[in-house]
Symmetry: C2
Subunit: 172 residues, 2 copies
C-alpha cells in the first residue's frame, strides 16, 4: 500500500486547549481569533496572500488517532456514515475550515472565525475564491442530507470528547 | 520531523488521461462525469451520503513530485506565492474540488463537474453544506487578490505541463 507522506507546513494557535467545549464549525466561531505560524522554509509561499479576505486551510486532526466508519455527529443522535459527516474521526485525519485573514506579518497569518484546536499542524493554505465553483452549484435544489433542519444548531453546539479513543480518555 | 501518513481511500476515474488540456477548475468542467471507486474496507462510511447534492473531495496530485514556493498560475502571467494559488505544485500535493453527486451504487460514487486527472488517489470525502460557514463570509467586501478580473477565464482555460518536473517532461 503506497502511503502519501504529508509534512506539516506550520502550526495553528487558537484559544482552544481542549476538545471539549469548542465550536464545531466556523459559523459558531465568528470573530474568534487565531494565528497561523508558517515554517520559515515555506514563508515565501505566502507572497500575494494579503490580497485575499479568506483562506481555506487544511490541517491535521492531531488528537484523533483512530477512525470509525459510522459515527454519531455532534448535530445528530443517529449513526451516520463518516463521509456524510465532518467528524474528525475519519480515515485520514484532515480537517478543512474557511477562515478570515485579519493581517499577515512576516510568517504569521492572523485569522478570525477559528474552530480549531490549539497546536494543530497546518497542511495547506488555499485562497478562498468561490467564483471558481459557485456557478456549478444548483442552489435551488441543494440537498444537505441529515443536516437539513439541524445545521442551524452548529451556531451554538459545542464539541465534547466523543471522538477521542478509549486510551486517550483514560489518560485524562 | 513528524510526518503525517495518509492512505488513499479510493481512486477517481475521469476522462482526463493527460494533464495537458484539462479544465483547471470545476467551473470549466460543468457536467463532465467521473467515478469515485471507494475501497471496500471504507465502503460503510458512504452511508447517508446519497442525501447530499455535492461533496467536497480531497485528493492527491499524484503526478506532481516537487513543489515551488512561487509559481506562475494558469490564470496569470506573474509569479505568485504558492499559497495564493490553487496550483498542484504545492508543499503537500493535496487538491480539493466540489463535485456533484449523480448517483451512488455500492462503493461507486458517480460524479459530475470533474476537473481531476484519471487515476487520482482519493483522500477524503466531506459533505458540501455551505450553511456551516456561508454566514461568516462578508460577501460585499470579498477580496480575491490577483484572481480579480481573471477568475472568469477559468471557464475556458485549460492546463498544460508547466507544473511537471524536468525529469517527468524528459520521460514524455
Amino acid at each position: 500500500m503506497k502511503k502519501i507522506e504529508i509534512e506539516s507546513i506550520g502550526t495553528i494557535h487558537t484559544p482552544f486547549n481542549d476538545i471539549e467545549g469548542m465550536p464545531i464549525q466556523t459559523i459558531g466561531a465568528k470573530d474568534i481569533p487565531g494565528e497561523i505560524h508558517v515554517k520559515d522554509k515555506f514563508k515565501e509561499g505566502l507572497k500575494d496572500l494579503n490580497g485575499f479576505s479568506y483562506i481555506n486551510i487544511l490541517y491535521n486532526f492531531h488528537k484523533i488517532n483512530e477512525y470509525d466508519l459510522t459515527v454519531t455527529p455532534f448535530l445528530d443522535n443517529k449513526k451516520r456514515g463518516i463521509f456524510a459527516t465532518r467528524s474528525p474521526k475519519r480515515p485520514n485525519h484532515i480537517g478543512s475550515s474557511i477562515v478570515k485573514i485579519d493581517k499577515i506579518e512576516d510568517n504569521i497569518i492572523y485569522i478570525l472565525n477559528v474552530d480549531i484546536l490549539d497546536g494543530t499542524p497546518l497542511i495547506d493554505i488555499k485562497p478562498y475564491v468561490p467564483h471558481l465553483w459557485e456557478e456549478t452549484i444548483e442552489k435551488e435544489d441543494l440537498k444537505i442530507g441529515w443536516f437539513k433542519d439541524k445545521h442551524q444548531n452548529a451556531k451554538t453546539q459545542k464539541s465534547d470528547d466523543r471522538f477521542l479513543s478509549l486510551s486517550q480518555l483514560k489518560k485524562n
